[in-house]
């Protein structure tokens, strides 16, 4: 008996934010997502892997029912790429992935480095959100069942109140206004804000935040989530 072809086996690089999870959803529609790959950086200034709540990726993976491969990195520029390569090789070994999916939007820095690692390892590399229209993307995101909040702000004019705020239509309207008044990028691609996905159309459970605290000063701040759990949808 021949096994049914379910698509190319892929690993999705996952930071916990909107772009990696939306890319995961796109990949699931066209190929087989065999695992998620997460790199936890100890360096807050990491170019590649810094996100305020990457420690919640395992909970997200559980919510989605997708296996997770995690490695830690000191987050030293360029050296951290060796750790990413190690994580990807681990995913190849454990899940037989043939390619990588990223949520890269416009970052040539990130895309270039992942492309090079994939080439060295003989893997496919997919960036399904690459240079996507920011307005259309944000509309699709909030219109297709994703629930996400802002967990980090790093530029004017974001106030403390943005930390923990859901990105819904009202928030999107405010972000669009900031694009005009403060020249932020709508998607946060310029590093103006970071997000955390709490629910997605393909999640089996959703995430509830039980305990968190904010750190904020001079338009920079993070929502540090210390306790979260899964609840039925």
């Amino acid at each position: 008996m021949t096994a049914e072809y379910t698509g190319m086996k892929l690993g999705v690089l996952c930071s916990g934010g909107k772009d990696s999870w939306f890319a995961c959803g796109l990949a699931q529609k066209k190929e087989e997502v065999a695992c998620l790959i997460s790199v936890r950086s100890k360096n807050d200034a990491s170019y590649m892997f810094h996100t305020p709540n990457v420690h919640l990726v395992p909970l997200q993976a559980k919510a989605a029912g997708i296996p997770l491969v995690t490695v830690e990195t000191e987050g030293i520029e360029e050296a951290e790429l060796a750790d990413l390569s190690r994580a990807i090789r681990l995913a190849v070994k454990q899940f037989g992935i043939e390619g990588i999916v990223t949520g890269a939007l416009m970052s040539v820095y990130q895309a270039t480095r992942v492309q090079r690692i994939c080439r060295d390892l003989g893997l496919w590399c997919f960036n399904p959100l690459w240079y996507t229209d920011p307005n259309a993307y944000m509309e699709r995101l909030i219109g297709s069942g994703f629930s996400l909040i802002i967990t980090g702000v790093f530029s004017a004019p974001f106030t403390k109140e943005w930390l923990g705020r859901a990105i819904d239509r009202e928030a999107l309207a405010d972000l669009r206004r900031y694009v005009k008044t403060d020249r932020i990028t709508l998607t946060g691609e310029g590093g103006e804000y970071e997000t955390l996905v709490l629910d997605a159309p393909f999640f089996r459970q959703r995430i509830i935040i039980r305990e968190s605290e904010t750190e904020y000063a001079n338009y920079r701040g993070v929502l540090r989530i210390s306790r979260a759990e899964l609840v039925p949808k």
């Binding site: 080439r119 496919w124 590399c125």
Partner: protein, 187 residues
């Protein structure tokens, strides 16, 4: 109507989102209607009613189009301007009798325009995004209009508006695609 040809290994793949959609966005923003078509669906007689044809790129590891290049033979007789981007340039190169050789560039790269060109402008150096594993050895008689330290970055047919660029203009060099669209409307 500008026709965007998807050269990825299968129709509707993740490559379409990455390599065709960004070009479509530029064409659309420039005010031109467009239609997408997978290379496997290009009729042997060629694409009818096209004002221009763009052969888009595909993933670094995707060379399926080179094994089915005869399906794109109609490009040789296209009555409209044709632009090949990366894999699209490789396809044009093969269709017109040129050859490919292994040569990889990934990331932002210095491109030197070596002679005036309708799409690239006057001789100058600019940076562009590259993702390719092969380089073109252009068909005999074609004009090389730009180079990098590694390979030919742009060429064009000596007599007809058929162009190839190895870099990805849809990343930070929209003007190249916009100029191509303008050219399509003039001819």
């Amino acid at each position: 109507m500008i026709h965007l040809v998807d050269l990825s290994w299968k129709a509707g793949s993740l490559c379409r989102d990455e390599y065709v959609a960004p070009v479509a966005r530029i064409v659309s923003a420039a005010g031109h209607p467009y239609r997408e078509i997978h290379f496997s669906e290009v009729p042997p007689s060629g694409i009818a009613d096209a004002d221009g044809i763009v052969l888009c790129g595909t993933a670094l590891k995707d060379n399926a189009f080179t094994e089915k290049i005869q399906g794109l033979a109609s490009i040789r007789d296209a009555k409209c301007p044709v632009l090949g981007i990366c894999a699209g340039m490789e396809a044009i190169c093969l269709v017109f009798g040129g050859r490919l050789r292994p040569a990889a560039e990934i990331g932002m790269t210095d491109i030197r325009v070596t002679q005036p060109d309708p799409l690239l402008g006057e001789p100058r150096t600019f940076t562009a995004y590259e993702v390719h594993s092969f380089a073109c050895e252009p068909p005999a008689g074609w004009l090389v209009t730009a180079v990098s330290d590694t390979c030919v970055q742009a060429f064009r047919h000596p007599d007809r508006p058929v162009f190839g660029v190895m870099f990805h203009p849809e990343v930070r060099n929209d003007l190249v695609v916009e100029r191509f669209c303008t050219l399509c409307m003039k001819l």
